[in-house]
Amino acid sequence: MSKRGFWGGFWSLIVGLGVTLRASFRKNVTIQYPHVLVPVSPIYRGPVRLISEEVGGDHKCIGCLACQRICPTHAIPILTTKKNEENKNVPVDFVIDDALCCFCSLCVEVCPTVALEHSRIGDLAVEYQALLRREIMHDGTITSDNFPTSTGKSGGKS
């Protein structure tokens, strides 16, 4: 028996019922996610993307490999060549592996030309692991900036 004795304990049971009853009249806090998108913080870090206008468009990457070197999980393998006329590095294949990425933002911070940024995608679910390996650039041109598409009824950006 508690310090409050039998009647104190009995009263506490009724108080508990009152708490849940009051709670049940409160407005519910559920966000019906696929129909309504969930607001996220402005500094939210989604999957990393290469800033570019469109497929085949311009980008700021100079192939310095800073992001590749700093990435703690080796999620950004980049292949570069010196085929530029000024004999500078130019990225040929640019891959970001979302399966490995741990969203630490180090690559975004280290990039000297601000070529990378975090997207604001919060929901990403795919059927094959291979889909998570995004080949953003192939043969020097941006092939896709899109995230893996899915057949799900959602896919909205947060």
Partner: protein, 209 residues
Amino acid sequence: MDEQLPILNPDGQYPDSVNSETVPPIVRFLPLQKALDLARANSLWPLTFGIACCAIEMMAASASRYDTDRFGAGVFRNSPRQADLMIVAGTVNLKMAPIIKRLYDQMPSPKWVIALGSCAICGGPFEQEDNYAVVQGVEKIVPVDIFVPGCPPRPEALIHAILELQERIKAGTTHALEPGAVAPVTEQPVEFVDLIERLKKQAQRKSAQ
């Protein structure tokens, strides 16, 4: 006592579905298959099962703000015998791997697996060749239907995965197993003996130094 114990796991073995016989489900004819798939898609009962930090997001997904119960996926079952969906939420250690395999085996067909977070997909931050402790992706142990990247993923991502899985179940394109079928493991399975071997080698190396 000299007498043999007839009940209570006579040889210390836990009863699991590997050494159990299976009965085909009661309803199994084609016109109902569609309705059955719809029902299965809308009633995915997950196994209460969290390994690491991603489990916190899984809890968040089933709590008030995201509420997976809206899709019928909020009934967390504690017994694998009653669950349909296994959410592998977190780093799978080599020591944990046999247990996950056993839990998967104990679930009744049809059953699905969601790999939640980088660690469960491919090892994530622990991805390394010849890693002595972490299984490089839960796919090496059990067949995975949906991969959710993130470290950890947001609750929306899990809900998205559940919706994705629902679509796949309705379309009939999951790895769901028919009773009696053998789980198709997509990659080479982890050999659990490896751990011991490696530890032995490690010890030998240490003693050599």
